[in-house]
């Protein structure tokens, strides 16, 4: 009996953890390549959710079908953000860099509130719905599909970074910007690419959870904090670390909520951040 409940809790932690990993991977990629933390990362996720919502509401496109469109849209948003704002603060003092992405965060939230109202919205039904049973344990199918999707995207990103020319160039820029430039890699292009991919990852995460998570302008605020914990735990700039840490954070969140009380689950995850900082500041797979 209790073993079943525990199993149920662990699996749901794993499912949400894979989503956190996907959000965090984009954040850590951008940080790794250019040492800028994107405060607006949660807002990319929010835009991904709204993309699914409007595709469904206006064009009756199922959220699952809309995913590739969401990815392309958010890739574009990432590039535009980089070209219009981030590129201009690359050499600016750190304060300006913080203010720039912090300002973007508020801007995107404000725009969402202005155009789409602060209401909580839901996508009423989707191709994937219902539950699947695995022995005594039951899971929502949308959650399972979302987690599988997250694994697929993270895996594809890993493959891209390690097995393609362009991806290797991006990794090289992350490891040593100057050396990469000397090898003829166009730093500006790599930065833009990192923003595009990072935004697309967050947007895809948003699209994946849009079927079972309320959609509202400030939905990103929680995800950015959790993604931040994941990045710190995984080690700054490490994609593999973020993937593992995402799962750990998901498990701790759900397990902590189960043992202590669901109202404390976010506080538990955020406290994990302080513990990591005290015990192992470089995280699981951090370089320094």
């Amino acid at each position: 009996m209790t073993a079943d409940i525990l199993l149920q809790v662990l699996v749901s932690g794993l499912l949400i953890g894979l989503i956190y990993a996907l959000v965090a991977v984009g954040l850590t990629l951008i940080y790794g390549v250019m040492d800028i933390v994107n405060f607006a990362h949660g807002e990319f996720l929010m835009l991904g959710m709204y993309a699914s919502f409007w595709a469904f509401t206006l064009f009756h496109v199922d959220p699952v079908i809309a995913l590739p469109i969401t990815a392309v849209l958010l890739f574009g948003v990432g590039i535009v953000v980089y070209q219009t704002v981030i590129r201009r603060v690359l050499k600016a003092p750190m304060l300006s860099q913080i203010f720039a992405t912090f300002g973007l965060m508020i801007l995107l939230r404000g725009l969402a509130q202005f155009f789409w109202k602060p209401d909580h919205r839901l996508i009423p039904d989707s191709l994937v719905s219902g539950n699947i049973a695995l022995g005594p344990v039951q899971f929502g199918l949308p959650q399972v599909i979302a987690a599988l999707g997250a694994v697929g995207v993270t895996g594809a990103l890993w493959f891209f970074l390690h097995r393609t020319r362009l991806g290797t160039a991006l990794e090289a820029t992350a490891i040593d910007r100057e050396a990469a430039t000397l090898m003829g890699i166009d730093g500006q292009k790599m930065f833009a690419l990192a923003w595009g991919i990072g935004a697309a990852c967050a947007g895809l995460a948003g699209g994946l959870i849009a079927t079972f998570f309320p959609i509202f302008p400030e939905v990103g605020s929680n995800f950015i904090l959790i993604a931040f914990v994941v990045v710190v735990l995984g080690g700054f700039g490490s994609v593999t670390g973020a993937f593992l840490a995402g799962i750990i954070v998901g498990l701790i969140e759900v397990l902590g909520g189960f043992l202590i009380g669901p109202e404390y689950k976010t506080a538990i995850v955020l406290s994990l951040l302080l513990i990591v900082l005290l015990v192992r500041p470089k995280g699981l797979m951090g370089k320094a």
Binding site: L95, S96, R109, F228
Partner: protein
């Protein structure tokens, strides 16, 4: 710019004139809503100047200052409700509690540099908000109300808005004086060294963590004092009004817009921000429409891209370009 020298007479005169203006301003105002508008400006300015000590001078951007604000508000209110203590004492107690909290949170968080420190402060504020919202001792999400039966200076409860105006003006003056004293002292030099040349400062034997903790503590104390004032003015507090992220954002915004690291920048920022807030509300209806957020956000991004020193920096640039001024316009 060396600040250790004698007072610049022009600046001193300007300060006296500004203070005289602020002291006389309420005489021309009969509408309580109008007076409240100026009280809000002074409150924003006080918080912005306090934030600037750690965020501006020491360059450690906190986006979780609501935690100190909330500690101040809750501490003075709880002491008044349970022990009947005067909020003047509660205000000091709240400030001290905020200092203790700043030291405890600063210890792990200052291991993070720059961007990540800012993010960690949001996380800490979020944790505290959740804990307070679920605390029975602090009445959770219901909040705390101050009784109306006691009024007068000792209880810091007044029927008219006017005393609140002068109290917050006094708190602002004290806060500005503290910031000014820091700016001129050796601590101020260390703060700027930490911000601009952390490695060089460390090499010279400046303990980075120690001075960051000092900056955060002073800032926390003054922010908590502002929180206590808010509780007395509103007579009601709940986690949603003092501990939320929106408060942290606003406190930082005031300083960022006006000009980080300048003495009077946050005051200017408060005038701009509160005015925008007020007019966007009357122009576009409720605050739920997001227009005020859009306007602030555009301003912050513009500041970040074009003038890291805020509106104050723009004004200084402008003055340099005017005839008769020096030729040092290329300082950025």
């Amino acid at each position: 710019m060396s600040n250790r020298t004698v007072l610049d007479p022009r600046k001193a005169l300007g300060a006296v004139a500004l203070l005289a203006f602020a002291l006389l301003l309420p005489l021309g105002i009969t509408d309580p809503a109008r007076l409240n508008f100026f009280i809000l400006i002074l409150m924003g300015a006080q918080l912005g100047v306090a934030w600037n000590i750690v965020g501006g001078y020491a360059g450690q951007v906190s986006l979780g200052h609501a935690v100190f604000y909330g500690i101040g508000a809750y501490c003075s209110t709880m002491l008044a409700l349970s022990l009947g203590l005067s909020p003047w004492i509660g205000m000091l107690a709240g400030g001290l509690l905020a200092v203790v909290f700043a030291l405890v949170m600063g210890w792990p968080c200052f291991r993070l540099k720059g961007h990540y420190f800012a993010m960690a402060t949001i996380a800490v504020a979020e944790i505290v908000q959740i804990l307070v919202t679920n605390s029975e001792f602090l009445e959770g999400a219901v909040g705390l109300s101050l009784p109306l039966d006691r009024s007068g200076l000792a209880a810091m409860v007044f029927l008219s808005k006017l005393p609140y105006y002068y109290i917050i003006l006094g708190l602002l003056v004290v806060t500005v004086l503290v910031a000014w004293a820091i700016e001129r002292s050796h601590i101020g030099y260390y703060f700027r060294a930490i911000k601009d040349e952390p490695e060089a400062a460390r090499a010279l034997g400046v303990s980075l963590t120690r001075y960051k903790l000092i900056a955060l503590s002073v800032s926390a104390f003054l922010t908590a004092v502002g929180g206590s004032f808010y509780a007395q003015k509103e007579m009601f507090i709940d986690p949603g009004s003092v501990f939320v992220g929106a408060i942290s954002i606003k406190i930082a915004l005031v300083a960022i817009l006006g000009g980080v690291g300048t003495l009077m920048g946050p005051v200017l920022g408060a005038v701009i921000l509160i005015t925008i807030e007020e007019y966007s509300r009357t122009l576009f209806g409720s605050t739920g429409s997001g227009t005020d957020m859009i306007i602030y956000a555009m301003m912050i991004i513009l500041v970040a891209v074009f003038s890291p020193a805020g509106v104050m920096g723009l004004l200084q640039d402008l003055r340099r370009h005017l005839p008769g001024a020096g030729k040092t316009s290329e300082t950025r």
